[in-house]
Subunit: 206 residues, 3 copies
């Protein structure tokens, strides 16, 4: 489906850009920024492909995907000052990215016949692991472990998608609808400052 492929490319490009901006904040050099950009864009899908046994991994089989990512990287390197100020706008595209990546991961896992619960995990993996690797490589505890309803929006979207799929909704419509659900949850979570409870251990009682 054309729109969906387009959204996938937008997602990869925005993920690559977020990698470059993180690299610039950390004062990495040009190569470091490219490396982090690529890894952020492909990390989630690659991990999913490796786990379910799709090799060579998807993005290796075509130069289009890499070209899209490299375009995102070059644009982000040149316009990094501007993009950094536009983070709120970027954030919307990033949310589209995680929505699309969640559904792609979910669909690919269902295709090899795993249990739906395992498939949801693969959807979330596709969406979040790129960012986790980006933060780990730049020596930070991954952002999504600490704040924001990011992964939770993916899980909720995955559940909606499975339910509508089970009810027989046409795949294309379901995909767009689910991406909409994920975006809505995430925007609401920012607007109303929702977050996951933080775990603590009362060290005094040790």
């Amino acid at each position: 489906m054309f729109i969906f492929t387009l959204l996938d490319y937008i997602g990869a490009m925005v993920f690559a850009m977020s990698g470059v901006l993180t690299a610039a904040e950390k004062r990495l050099d040009l190569f470091g920024a490219m490396f982090i950009g690529v890894v952020t864009a492909i990390g989630g899908g690659t991990t999913r492909d490796l786990l379910i046994g799709v090799t060579p991994v998807t993005w290796l089989s075509t130069w289009h995907y890499l070209a899209v990512i490299m375009t995102g990287i070059v644009v982000a390197i040149i316009f990094r000052q501007t993009l950094n100020k536009l983070r709120r706008t970027m954030f919307l595209f990033d949310t589209i990215g995680i929505g699309v990546f969640t559904i792609i991961g979910l669909e690919k896992a269902l295709m090899i016949g795993v249990h739906p619960a395992v498939a949801i995990l693969m959807g979330v993996t596709s969406a979040v692991v790129g960012g986790v690797i980006r933060d780990t490589l730049t020596n930070e505890v991954p952002l999504i472990f600490k704040k924001e309803i990011y992964a939770t929006a993916c899980i909720a979207g995955a559940l909606v998608y499975l339910a509508l799929r089970w009810l027989g909704l046409e795949a294309g419509i379901n995909q767009l609808l689910t991406v909409g659900v994920i975006i809505t949850i995430r925007l609401l979570s920012i607007r109303y400052n929702w977050s996951m409870p933080v775990l603590t251990i009362d060290s005094d009682q040790k």
Copy 2:
């Protein structure tokens, strides 16, 4: 063999719990704790499966394994204060886990026909990589690189297992015996404060 599968599940559950406790110490949120819990439990076995080419990786093919891990995570989140005080008891279960994981890794590697030295490496990988990923994601130098006869107990156990296997001992008995050896070495190492020598470089002479 029933007992061995049971020990495998216990190992995975305790590894998941240790991930949650580490996440709580680092004040991660609920999703972070779940992510670290899952990764700690499956990291070693997944790495081994990927290296030897078993895909989809083992835990994807059944929802049982994931259910056991999620149970461990939920229990650890609810009872984290209590569990944190029971770390010494947890430690025993954790040792069972590394023992079982070592043997599973060793057996799987031998089955694809690699050299015994390589198989030992796969056994150790199964046992330690989950913890290495857990510590790396929470921005620490992995614990097992710095103290304790943890990996060494795995290597010793793997050697014992190979020797007894070569002598023709029945697999089930050998497995339980080897887990016993690994547990004993680790308990003795704690009791008598054994540790691996730390490497140093005399920086003054640079």
Copy 3:
């Protein structure tokens, strides 16, 4: 080709040694040094093999490779003070390693029929990912993200190799020539203090 296999082994051995020296600087124990040594030596090639779908990964299928790596690790542990003073000499061998690893990765990727741009990426992956994992596990931002024309030398070498290959040069000669190019670029970069530009973001304007 004998010379090339020899260079591959030298590369793996030197990478393993660099892992041990990093571990000693971080005061890890004997096991930590071994783990980091192995991972540094095999990390790049393993990542490449997994991505292109070569499993069991190459080094699992023979004990020779692991034996060479373990030899490097033992030598580095024993002579770490001396080696630390000889870092400039080590550096030359390390450069041979990245040159050889780049070409091996490139060739392997071309063999499975990917686009040349993707193949270059696989060459660079083979050469640099071992060091990236080494630095991440010891809780540092990877060195190659911050200074030196390291990865750039690999990319330049890969381009030269592809060009000469397209012109029909015999593979063996091309390989040695390309390794020569990579070494020359890297030595010149050290001699004249070349480095990649560092990215910055003007935080004041946020």
